[in-house]
Symmetry: C2
Subunit: 340 residues, 2 copies
């Protein structure tokens, strides 16, 4: 007669205790690396753990410890953005690496509809996570409110404009834009313009401010075209506008790589050579940057660093440490390629 190979029950701390001839408490102390365990007992318990194949039950541990050892990673974007924004994948990876290093698990929470919002809010209230990382929060975001009400340790990647006092990690758009523009000026360009984009966002406004900083007295508002989005088509339109207004233009700072790629097309159409006639720089070091002809000089987004930084900010709070006020601003190295 063949016995049914019933799903073998997992070994508990009690099984280990019996096997090693000690009590639950002592096993618990060994498992949690606490002092006051004799060498004998420790050896016996370690052997017993190995023998019965013991792995601590997380649910039981969570229940008694009142924490889950998990951190939520909330992305509040339409699905399509995951495709378009190559950074989100790297942010996720960076956060995941930092969290797992600290023995925390990362749970992906993706919000794409109002139904999702409710589900995630419920999830957060359920104590499933000890903290959250929020990517691209919206202004007056319901999730942000839930998190605030629960007092959950939080870190934002990029910060919502209405919540300057919560911990966040971002890049210093203004300083980076300034450095990039200065480098462009150093190559001998005389008439440098900018295609500014998304001025309703912090990032867009700060990049323009950095450009203005770099030009100082030489700033000429006639050399700035403003487009609504960080998009290819917007770049084409913005460049045409600049060419019309200032045909003698010889340098362009595009607010993003996609915008820069569009600018390249408009310049090509207008018969200008890049970089000979006009130098072009982008921002983001996205996939665009390496695929344009010539490849773009741009500013590298330290995406995985952003993720790791946000994770670290959450972990700090979890450990009860203070977080830096005003957020964490990351360095953004300039990548010089062929376009300027």
């Amino acid at each position: 007669m063949v016995s049914v190979p019933a799903r073998r029950k997992r070994a508990t701390i009690h099984d280990v205790a019996v096997e090693a001839g000690v009590s639950r408490g002592t096993v618990s102390r060994v498992v949690n690396d606490e002092p006051y365990v004799s060498a004998n007992a420790r050896a016996a318990i370690e052997a017993a753990i190995e023998k019965v194949g013991y792995v601590p039950n997380n649910a039981a541990r969570s229940l008694v410890m009142q924490r889950s050892q998990a951190v939520g990673f909330i992305v509040h974007e339409p699905h399509s953005l995951f495709l378009e924004d190559p950074n989100i994948g790297d942010i996720l990876l960076g956060a995941n690496t930092a969290l797992s290093h600290a023995d925390y698990q990362m749970v992906c929470l993706i919000i794409d509809s109002d139904r999702d919002t409710a589900r995630v809010a419920r999830y957060l209230s359920g104590g499933f996570v000890d903290g959250v990382i929020i990517v691209s929060a919206r202004q007056n975001d319901p999730i942000t409110r839930v998190v605030e009400k629960l007092g959950l340790p939080t870190a934002f990647v990029g910060h919502p404009p209405d919540l300057r006092d919560l911990p966040f990690v971002g890049i210093d758009n203004r300083t980076s834009a300034r450095a990039l523009t200065e480098r462009l000026l150093d190559t001998g360009r005389r008439r440098v313009g900018m295609i500014a984009a998304a001025l309703d966002r912090d990032s867009g406004a700060d990049r323009l401010a950095g450009f203005t900083d770099a030009l100082g007295d030489a700033f000429d508002s006639n050399l700035v075209a403003s487009v609504p989005l960080y998009a290819y088509a917007a770049g084409v339109a913005g460049m045409r506008e600049l060419l019309q207004r200032s045909p003698e233009i010889d340098g362009v700072f595009a607010a993003s790589d996609a915008v820069a790629a569009g600018a390249l097309e408009a310049l090509r159409d207008a018969g200008r050579r890049v970089p000979e006639d006009v130098g072009v720089v982008g921002f983001d070091d996205s996939a665009w940057a390496r695929r344009t002809q010539p490849p773009l000089s741009t500013v590298h987004q330290p995406a995985s660093g952003l993720g790791a930084g946000a994770a670290e900010l959450v972990l700090q709070q979890l450990r009860g440490e203070a977080t830096p006020v005003g957020g964490l601003l990351l360095q953004t190295p300039i990548v010089w390629r062929g376009s300027a």
Copy 2:
């Protein structure tokens, strides 16, 4: 004197019971939508839940139910792939959507080093997840072995060559390649070649097989160039080789969009016009396809469908249902753009 705003304790099922004047059991029945609850009691309990802000504690529930309501999403790739492969993000999204619809949570487990392998193996053994979705498993993968040993419900996105009997979801590379090639032939091309890539992978071999199927007797091995990787540079090299061997070539099936983009460059260098002189088709419908000049005709990868399919496969096993043998092969629509 100001009282310390102590972290407010979460309401338990017991609090609800007291508030509603019933017992824990009855509340549990309402929460879990079980029958045999009077209308009175139900109303009182629902009001009480609202009032005390009760949300079930997952750890306690997991402990007694012996399950976690979570599914692991395992990606076994170097970090860089997350950047390069736009599909992984969509697969993740598709899986996440399907799982959360069934009230399961998705936990991201990314393996990038041997240390990660050990960590994830330990995690899986810890009963943190009820099932797993594995993306791009390797041959003889230690994680696959752990999963098998634990008898964890599993689904692969794309299947490792050595595990044909486990549930998987993939695309029908062969049929898709055949359909694409036939369509290319239908446009009147006489000498159609292929840049085959990654023949050591299922996908690469199947795409070549589909090409061969479509050509039938007209197949000419002289018109096939084989390159090691799905990469741009490989596409350039492959196309040069084909042009040298068969200068009269007027159609090319590139094994991926990246390869096709490389082929486009090689054709441009050789002074051939696309699509007038040579028709080019790619595979994947990746970001490349829309950025080349002209944009590529290609086969669309139903990435989010793959994720959703894998999730469904795991959920089926979780419900105790049978899974389709031989895996799930998804339809791949042809996207006809300017390159052929």
